[in-house]
Symmetry: C2
DNA sequence: CAAAGTATGTCACTTTGTATCATATTGTAT
DNA sequence: ATACAATATGATACAAAGTGACATACTTTG
């Protein structure tokens, strides 16, 4: 079992939940994808392994994993929600409001902001997601023409 | 006309759009609310002024204003999308994954990151939205007990 | 005024997400 | 090992959120 799934198992059990085959599949799918996945994509890939996993389970599981901080839920403006493993502490996106291009930014972008916020507000196990929305240069030029 | 709505009018016309009564009402409602509003709340308040404004128009308008960068669309995990005037350059939230409490953070939190990103990636009129998700101290304590 | 471009309202529809509940699985105590 | 409680799933129906198509209306321009 991969470290991420293994660790997820512990997190689940600590809170009285179980790592069922369905949850295992969902975690694996999210872990193995190199990119963030939509509910649709997750469903598709899970059902390739076992077509009888129900949509309810997928929604319930994603909600649970989100609450436990095991998956990160990205909700960029004008996009479906996407899910990815919450392995790092941060994941940042630069988005064009016009063409909707998405650029992933460096995790380390915000320095030690994480620790700062935890201290200042008494929060725990923080993850940071920055959404920077603007116009890419191409779209900007297009817009100026009009 | 308030400065924000006035400026929105210019932005719209520059791109060949009009500030119709419906758009004016929607902008005003968003501007006058001290907090960010859901589609529901916006609809309710707009229809108090004129009950014949249709839902389609509200969705279409929000999408347009978002694309023009006149309203900011916040999509926090486990929350409905919320809208607020995009007057400042940034708006940051600290969210508890368990009780879903939301704390608004200082606009200036990220320093000159805005300018940095614009230069580095050639983006224009950037707005930054940081979502910091974790557990508030109360929830954290609760969770440890189990 | 006429024509073109822009915007709205209505309604049907799709998509996305939720609630309920019977059934199944797992964990715990005896 | 068995019985019981707790947890999890699948199915179905349902609710909520959002979209598309199109006829009508309003503005702008000439």
């Amino acid at each position: 079992m991969h470290q991420y799934v293994h660790n997820s198992n512990e997190q689940l059990r600590k809170r009285g939940y179980r790592l069922t085959p369905q949850r295992y599949m969902i975690l694996s799918v999210i872990q193995e994808a190199g990119e963030h996945l939509s509910v649709d994509q997750i469903t598709e890939r899970v059902q390739q392994r076992n077509p009888y996993v129900s949509l309810s389970t997928i929604y319930r599981t994603l909600e649970l994993l989100r609450e436990l901080g095991l998956v990160r839920e990205n909700r960029l403006p004008g996009e479906q929600p996407h899910y990815e493993p919450a392995e790092g502490q941060a994941h940042h996106h630069l988005v064009c409001r016009r063409c909707r291009a998405i650029i992933h930014l460096d995790e380390a972008l915000l320095g030690n902001l994480n620790e700062q916020l935890q201290e200042q507000y008494g929060f725990h196990s923080l993850t940071l997601d920055l959404v920077a929305a603007g116009y890419c240069d191409t779209c900007w030029q297009e817009m100026q023409k009009q």
